[in-house]
Amino acid sequence: MSATRIVRPRKSVPNGIWGMALFLCAEVSLFGLLIGTYFYLDFIARSWPPYGIKAPSVVLPLVATAVLLATLVPIRFASRAARADRRGAAITAIAIALVIQGCYLALQILLFAHDLNQFSPQRSAYGSIYFTLLAVHHAHVLLGILLDLALIWMLATRGLTEYWKVGVRVLALYWYVVGGVAVFVVLTQLAPSL
C-alpha cells in the first residue's frame, strides 16, 4: 500500500515490512521443524549417517554459505540507498547481490547433483531429510533471486515510489533471514562431520 501524505516522519514499521516479517516467521518455523526432524531421525538412528553413506565433506558448503552471507552487504546498501531516494545505487547494489547469489545457487545445485550420485533419498531416511532440507533452502534462495529480478525491473520501470521503497526494504529483510537460515541449514547438513 503506497503511503501518500505522510503526516510526519513515520514512527512505525510500514505494513509491507510487517507482512514480510510475519511471512518469514512462518518460514523460520518451517526450517526449525525441518532441522528438528533431521535431529529427531538422528536420535533414533542406529548410525548417522547410515552405513554406506560417508559423512558430508565440509569445505565447499561452508565457503558457499560465507559467499551468500557476503551478499547481505550489497543488499543492506540497497535498502539504505532506497531510503535515501538513490534509485540508481539501489538497482546496482541489488544487481551485484543478484550475480553473487546466482553463483551461490549454481554451485549448490552442482553439489546437490553430486550428492544425488553418492546416495539417494529413496534408500534411507537420512537421504530423505538431507535432500529435502537442502532443496527447501535452495528453493528459498531461488525465490529471493526472483525477487531481486522483480525489484530491479520494477525500480527501472516504475521508479522508486513509496511502494517500491518499502519493496526494497522487504527484499532486504527477506535476504537477511534467508542468510541466517543458511547458517543453521549448513551446520545441520554438516553435523555428522563437525
Binding site: 500500500m1 510500514p14 505494513n15 507482512g19 531421525l41 547410515p50 531416511a125
Partner: protein, 633 residues
Amino acid sequence: MATVVTPRGQEHVDRLERIWAPRPGLLGWLTTTDHKRIGILYFFTSLAFFGAGGVEALLIRTQLIGPNGHLLSPQAYDEVFTMHGITMIFLFVIPMTTGAFGNYLLPLMIGARDMAFPRMNALSYWVFLCSGIFMYAGLATGHAPNAGWFDYVPLASKTYDPGLNIDFYGFGLIFNGIASTAAAINFIVTIFKMRAPGMSLNRMPLFCYAFLAAAGALLFALPSLSLAALFLELDRQLGFQFFSSSRGGDALLWQNLFWIFGHPEVYIIILPAFGIATSIIPTFTHRRMVMYPLVALAEVMVAFLGFGVWAHHMFTVGLATITTVYFAGASLIIVIPSAIQIFSWIATILTGTPEFKTPLLFIVGFILYFILGGLSGITLAAIPFDQQVHDSYYVVAHFHFVIFGAAVYPILGGMYYWFPKLTGRMYNEWWGKASFWLTFIGTFVTFFPMHIVGIDGMPRRNYTYPADMGWTFLNMLESIGAYILTAGLVMIVVNLFVSYFRGPRAGNDPWEGDTLEWTTTSPPPPYNFPVIPTVTSPYALWDDKDREHDNRRLERGEGLLDAGHQTPASTVQDAELDEILSMPSYSAWPPITALTLSGLFAMLLLGHYFIAAGFVVLGLLALLAWHRNEADA
C-alpha cells in the same frame, strides 16, 4: 450511540459514496477487495461446507443408529468420517470464524476502512475456495481421503492406501494452508497497524485479542502441517523414507508433526469463539467485561501454551514418562486461561443486567458446554485415565463439546447478533429462541451419551458394533439427538433467510452495542466510517462524548480522508496516527493466482511435474502483474 448525519455532514458522506462506489455486477464480486464483500463470500462458502459436513455427520450417526448397520460400506464409512473431520475443521470453522466474522468485523471494530492487504485478503478467499473444491473433487471422483483427518502413517502410506485418496488429503491441506497463512498475516498486520488513532493495546476490543491470538497460532502451527503433508507426499509419490521404520524413518514422526499443528489448531478453532462471546456479553449485560486485562491475556496465553501440549494426543504410543510429563504439565496449566475467561464471562453476566435474547442464550449455552468439554479435557490430561479412554467415544464426546458446543455456538449466536448489522433487518426473536433450545437439547442428547459408551469401551472410528455390547440404546439416542440438532440448525438458517426479506428494519444500533461497528449504517458503506472514529476506551461506542465529537468532525469535514481510497495507519502499541494509506480497490489478479495454484496442485496430484512447473511460472507472472498496480488500480 450511532452516527448522526446533519445536512452539511451529508455532503461529505455523498463525496465518500462517490469515491468508494463499488463496481457493479458479478465482476464486482470476482475482483472485489472490500473486506465486507470477501467476508460475505467466506460466509456463504463455509456455510455450504458446513452443510456438506453436516450431511456426513448424519450419515455416520444413521449408520451407527443400530448394531451391524449397513447403510455405508466400510470403505464409504471411512471416507465419510474422514471428510467430516476435514470439512468441519479446515473448510467450515476456520474460514467461518477468521474468514467470515474476522474479515467482516475486525476492520469495523478497530475503525479501519479495510484490511492491511486487501488484495491478499481476496487471494486467501479464492485459494480457500479452490482448495475446498479440490478436496471435494476427491469425494466426487470416489477417491476421498479415508485414513481419518489425523491420517496416521503407515495406514496412509502407498502400501496400505494405494489410491489417490490420501494424495487429495496431502496436497489439499498444503493448498488450504496457503490461504490460512495469508489470512493470518493479514489479520495480524491489520490488528497491529490499522487501529483507529487512540486505540492503544489497552483499549482494543477483546474480540481483536482473540483473533490476534488465533491468527498468531495459525501462522506458527501451519508450517508443521504443511511439512508433514510434504513428507507424506514425498514418501507416497517419490518413494522417500521419512515414515518407514525399516529404513530409519519413524511412524511417530508423522504423529509429532501432525499434532504440533493439530493441537494449536484446536485453540485456533475456539479462540475466535471466545472473541465473539466477549463481544456479545457486554452488549447484552450492559456492562464492561470483568477483568478486561486478564481476559485479553487469557486469549493470547491459550494460543501460546497450546504449542506445548501436542503429545497428549500421543500418551498411548509408549513415549518415555520423562517426556510425557512435560506435556501433561502444560496440558493442565492451560486450563487456567480458560478458567479465567469462563469466570470473567459468568461474573459479567452475574453483575450486569443481562437481557437473555437469542445471541446471549447461545453464549450461555456455549459457556456451559465449554465447561463440560473443558472438564472432560482435564480428565484427559491425567495420563493413566487418558491411556484408558484414549481413542474411545469418550474423546469424541470431549472434543465435540469443545468444538461444536464451544466453538460453533458463538458462531451461531454471532450470526443472530450481527445479522441486523449485515442486513439492516431484525431476525425473529421467538424463532430464534426456539432454534436455540432445539440446538441446545440436540447437542446434549447427541454428544453426552458418548462419554458413557466410551468409558464402556466403545472405540472410535468403527463403522459398526456388535449387538451384545450394551451400546445399542445409547447410540440410538445419539443418532436421534443428531436429528434434533439438525432441525435446530435448519431453523436458524430459515429464520435468518426469512428475516432477510420479512424482518422489521433494525436501525444502525439495535442492541446499543459497545464496539465501533454499530456506529455506522447497517449495512455498512464501502468506506465503513465517514470520519475515522475517536477511541478512548475498549468500549468506544459507550463513550458518548467521543461519538458527539465525531459527529461534529463529520459536519466540519475533519478526518474524512477523501482523497481516494484512504485509511489511516497507526503505531503498533499506542496507536498514534502514523500515515494515511491509499488502498487498492479492485484487482482481478487474486482469483487468477488462485487458479494457477489450483492447476499446480491438480498436476502434482496426477504426477505431471513438468506441467506443474509451468503453472508455477504462470503463478509468478500473475504475482508480477499484480504488483504492477501499486494501489488504486
